[in-house]
C-alpha cells in the first residue's frame, strides 16, 4: 500500500515522499474509519507488551529461567536506570508504571523497523499526546496531594534562597516551563523524532527504488546505490534513536513524578 502511494505521486520525475506517507485509510473496504494501520500497530504493541510480561511473570520461580530472566532484566533496568535515580527511595512503588510506559513506547517505536508494518506508532501525534497528558495529570494529582495546591505553586515559583529581584524573572519562566512547555515538549519530542525518522528512511528508500528499479540510467544508478546503502544505515540508526526516545520518555515521566513528590530536590 505504501509503494502504491509513493508511485502514484511520481510521474516522470523523482518526487521525495512527503506527509502523505503517514495518511492511512481504513484497512479494508467497509471497515470502521478508525481501523487503520496506526491503530493496528498500537493494538499489536499492547498485545506484545502484555503478552510478554504475562509470560515472564506467569509462574515466577526463585531461580528464573527462560523468558522470566528476560523480563527481570527489563524490570531491573527500568528500576535502576530510571526509577531510583529520578524518584529516589520510594521510586520502587512507581516501577510498574514506568516499566509499562517504557516498554509500550519502545515496542510502538520499534514497529517502525519491522518489515511490512514499518510505521512507528507515535509518528501520529495523538498517541504521544495521550501518553503525555496522562503523565501531566499524574503530575498535577501527585503535586497537589503531597504539597497542596498553594504549596506546589509556591515551591515551583518562589523557592527560597534567591535574591528578591530575581523572582520577577524566575517565577513566570518556571510557571510557563512546568505548566505549558512540559506536556508540549514531552509529547512533541517523541512524535517529532519518530515522524522525522520515518520520513528519512522513506526518502532514502524511495531514492533507491526510483534510481535502481524505476528509471535506471548510467548516472542515476550510483545515486540509487547511495540511497540503498543509506537506507540500511539509517534503519540501524533509527533502532538506536527509537530505543533512546522511549528511554527519555520514561526518564522524563519519572523526573516529573519525582519533582511532584520531592519538591526540595
Amino acid at each position: 500500500m505504501s509503494a502504491r502511494h509513493l508511485l502514484a505521486a511520481q510521474g516522470e520525475e523523482f518526487h521525495a515522499p512527503g506527509t502523505e506517507i503517514f495518511e492511512w485509510g481504513p484497512l479494508w473496504d467497509g471497515a470502521p474509519s478508525w481501523v487503520t494501520k496506526p491503530t493496528l500497530i498500537v493494538t499489536l504493541s499492547v498485545i506484545i507488551v502484555v503478552g510478554f510480561f504475562w509470560a515472564a511473570s506467569r509462574r515466577p520461580q526463585l531461580v528464573p529461567r527462560g523468558v522470566q530472566n528476560v523480563g527481570e532484566i527489563g524490570y531491573l533496568f527500568v528500576r535502576d536506570q530510571i526509577a531510583r535515580p529520578m524518584i529516589g527511595k520510594d521510586g520502587d512503588k512507581w516501577v510498574p508504571f514506568l516499566v509499562s510506559t517504557f516498554f509500550f513506547v519502545l515496542i510502538m517505536n520499534w514497529m517502525g523497523v519491522v518489515p511490512v508494518l514499518q510505521l512507528p506508532g507515535p509518528s501520529h501525534i495523538a498517541f504521544a499526546v495521550v501518553l503525555a497528558i496522562f503523565v501531566y495529570l499524574l503530575m498535577w494529582g501527585l503535586s497537589i496531594r503531597s504539597q497542596g495546591l498553594v504549596g506546589w505553586f509556591r515551591n515551583m515559583m518562589f523557592p527560597p534562597g534567591l535574591p528578591k529581584a530575581l523572582y520577577v524573572l524566575y517565577a513566570p519562566i518556571e510557571l510557563l516551563s512546568v505548566l505549558v512547555l512540559r506536556p508540549f515538549t514531552h509529547s512533541v519530542r517523541l512524535f517529532a523524532n519518530m515522524f522525522a525518522g520515518h520520513l528519512l528512511i522513506a526518502f532514502f528508500a524511495s531514492v533507491a527504488w526510483w534510481f535502481l528499479a524505476e528509471k535506471v540510467t548510467l548516472f542515476g544508478a550510483p545515486v540509487g546505490l547511495v540511497g540503498f546503502l543509506m537506507t540500511i544505515v539509517m534503519t540501524g540508526f533509527e533502532i538506536f534513536i527509537q530505543a533512546l526516545q522511549a528511554f527519555i520518555f520514561a526518564l522524563l515521566a519519572a523526573s516529573y513524578i519525582g519533582g511532584a513528590l520531592h519538591p526540595d530536590h
Binding site: Q81, P85, L181, V188, R189, I248, L251
Partner: protein, 74 residues
Amino acid sequence: MGTLAEVTGDLGSVAYGLAAIGPGIGVGIIFGQGVQAIARQPELTNVIRTNMLLGFALTEALALIGFVVPFVHS
C-alpha cells in the same frame, strides 16, 4: 528601490535550519562535557549519563518547537 534580497521556496525548512543552530551547539556541549566527566570519574558513569540525557532532552526542546511551528502556521 526594489527588493534587496528575497528568499523563495519553503520558508519552514529555512526556519528549522535556523532553529537547529542553538540546540545543535547546546547538545554538542552537553555530550562533550558529559564524556569528559565520565572520563574523569568513571565510577559515576550512571549518574552522569542520566543527567546528560535529561539536559539533552531539555536543550532539544528548542529545536522541537522550531520543527512544529511551520506545521502550526501552514
